[in-house]
Amino acid sequence: MPQLNFNRTKKIIDKYKLPFARSFLIKSSEEAVKRSKELGFPVAMKISSPDIIHKSDAGCVAAEIKDEDHAKKAYEDIIKNAKKKKAKIEGVIVQKNISGVEAIIGMKSDPQFGPVILFGMGGIFVEIFEDISLRIAPIDKKIAEEMIDEIRSSDILKGARGREPVNIKSLKDILVKISNLSMENKKLESIDLNPVIVDKKTAKIVDARMMEYEK
């Protein structure tokens, strides 16, 4: 089950006009500084490697990077930690640091039903509570809305306890696009958009992992 590299993943994401957080794949500390400035601090960095799945556990993620020195050091630390794991390294991804509510959107190709679309709240909601909803693709906006309504923590998205409601339409939009994408690319075995960070204005995919079937 090989993982698609950053460039191939990005290509699919762009083709389907999925809102990916503005990112660059960087390969040196000089580039780290240059791209960070271009994005504007604070930024976040993480390793791009098919071998490292749990990036933060491996010390291969840095958030809230506030200045040039910090950017340089973050890049070097990430590379150093990745080398400790003897991982294949494609580079480091630098992104604008964005905050909001974390959601997860995914796809799994099921042997009996084909592409299945998943929606859940990110972080502990999905890890501990397995608070998710599933539908067999293809799905339309109405079904996407049902999926969002169905999870137990959906009130968080709608603005529980004085929080600002997030842009649910943008989440629905991603769900439908992932459904279209998976119906048209049957070689894909799974997709994890984790996290998708959403606020009142928009939703951005911060990390995407796509797997394809072995040839």
């Binding site: 089950m1 998710i132 997709i191 994890d192």
Partner: protein
């Protein structure tokens, strides 16, 4: 032949291949089930009315049925063959059936794909014999088929259940088998009982499509372990569920799927959750226990959908009413407050106890007589804002279960668009009245939580049909 199952369910003639004189053998049991309707004698057993033949090279007559050395020796046409011979001779027996131009085969014998690769090869071989000869094939490794309305018990199940309007399609022979005794005891009726085993040819989707057109079937209950083509099932279920409700029990609930660490979605979208999603999308009700499967099916087959989510409870026992309200609220069954105008109407009947609850649940107090029930039931059903009733009866010295049942049966006729669900809490002394209710298509449940679930299904059914 997948499209013509008529001969399978409504045969005019049946041969049992592997019929035996040994009363402990499967072949003997099947023949007896055809000749007498059952082995364990029950009031619902009827002998098969069509022609019956035994096939056994060593006997000339079994159970007063003429036996032939081979199916080819039978001169008349044959619709159905039930095969119970060792796996290794099945393919030669099936070739004989093909030559004889048999229309349908129920293959009881085990020893095929369930045993692994070698068995799978044998299964493929016999499937291709059936395909080439345009034979509808059920099984192998199955219990068989029972269709009470046709007096057809082509199985080695112990007995014949009552005739009814629910079709049970079960991947497990044991589950189909075990509910028969229970169904006889509780007078739970079936239009068809279908055990399809390894589904070498005919599978749940094929049966679903046939049951869609079966005039005896109002609701389909499914027990499923796994499917080969989930999308094909969804397509059929979407179509059928618009006409007839489908309820499914799926085993494998705790299976977490392969915890593939490389994909979050993969580990979360475990097989059971995927089935749940597929059922929801194709209008299939999900049951979580065997009992729930038949409880929900009974409600859907016999009651109209609740036009609005607005239900009233009538009870002669406070505690039972409160508990029922708890279950309703947990399930999202809405119990509206009774309007002042309704209370006035109830007062006006002069049948209410001075201490009756004047709210929903409507507690008409322990000493409620049939006329109290009658006034309460008819007053509430006349209200536009009440779309269905749950009626609870607890047995007390002055309670008259049969008269109360008659009142509900009358109300059912007067208000055909509003579902009535009963909970006669009791046993021995309520039995007769429960049979009365159910004979008139008013489902009764021995617990208020089950009644609440049944009503929930009738509310959901209405939403399904609106989509």
């Amino acid at each position: 032949m997948k499209n013509n199952l008529e001969k399978l369910f409504k045969p005019k003639s049946v041969a049992v291949i592997g019929a035996s004189r040994d009363p402990d053998s499967v072949g003997h049991g099947i023949l007896k089930n055809l000749v007498r309707g059952c082995v364990f004698q029950a009031e619902f057993c009827r002998p098969f009315k069509g022609r019956i033949y035994a096939v056994n090279p060593k006997a000339s007559s079994i159970l007063n049925t003429r036996s032939f050395p081979s199916i080819k020796d039978i001169e008349e046409d044959l619709d159905l063959a039930v095969i119970a011979v060792p796996a290794k001779i099945v393919s030669s027996v099936m070739k004989d059936c093909a030559e004889k131009k048999v229309k349908a085969i129920i293959l009881i014998s085990a020893g095929f794909a369930e045993l692994g690769e070698k068995g799978k090869k044998l299964q493929d071989e016999i499937t291709s014999i059936a395909e080439k000869a345009n034979i509808s094939l059920v099984g192998p490794n199955c219990l068989g088929i029972i269709r009470p309305s046709a007096n057809l018990n082509a199985s080695f199940a112990p007995s014949m259940p009552p005739e009814g309007n629910i079709a049970f399609v079960s991947q497990s022979g044991a589950i189909a088998d075990s509910i028969i005794d229970w169904a006889i005891e509780n007078r739970y009726g079936f239009s068809n009982l279908i055990s399809y085993g390894n589904k070498a040819m005919l599978d749940e989707t094929d049966f679903l499509e046939w049951l869609d057109k079966d005039e005896k079937t109002k609701t389909v209950a499914l027990y499923i372990e796994g499917m080969k083509d989930g999308r094909k099932f969804m397509e059929a279920a979407k179509k059928v569920s618009m006409k007839k409700p489908i309820v499914a029990l799926k085993s494998g609930m705790t299976e977490k799927g392969a915890k593939a660490a490389s994909s979050h979605t993969g580990s979360l979208a475990g097989s059971y959750n995927v089935y749940k999603a597929a059922f929801k999308q194709s209008g299939v009700f999900l049951a979580s226990t065997i009992e729930e499967l038949f409880d929900i099916s009974k409600a859907l087959a016999n009651q109209p959908p609740a036009k609005k989510n607005s239900i009233a409870i009538i009870t002669n026992g406070g505690g039972c009413g409160v508990l029922c309200a708890d279950y309703c609220s947990k399930l999202g069954v809405n119990l509206p407050d009774l309007k002042d105008s309704t209370i006035k109407k109830l007062d006006k009947t002069k049948k209410m106890h001075p201490a009756y609850s004047k709210s929903n649940p409507l507690d008409i107090i322990g000493d409620a007589l049939p006329e109290t029930y009658e006034a309460a039931v008819n007053t509430l059903l006349q209200e536009d804002y009440i779309s269905g009733l749950i009626v609870i009866q607890t047995l007390q010295t002055m309670t008259n279960p049969e008269k109360n049942a008659m009142i509900l049966i009358e109300a059912r006729k007067k208000f055909p668009d509003k579902p009535i669900i009963c909970t006669y809490m009791g046993g021995k002394f309520s039995r007769k009245s429960i049979f009365m209710l159910e004979a008139h298509k008013i489902p009764d449940y021995n617990d208020v939580s089950k009644a609440a679930k049944a009503m929930k299904a009738l509310i959901e059914r209405n939403e399904q049909l609106k989509k």
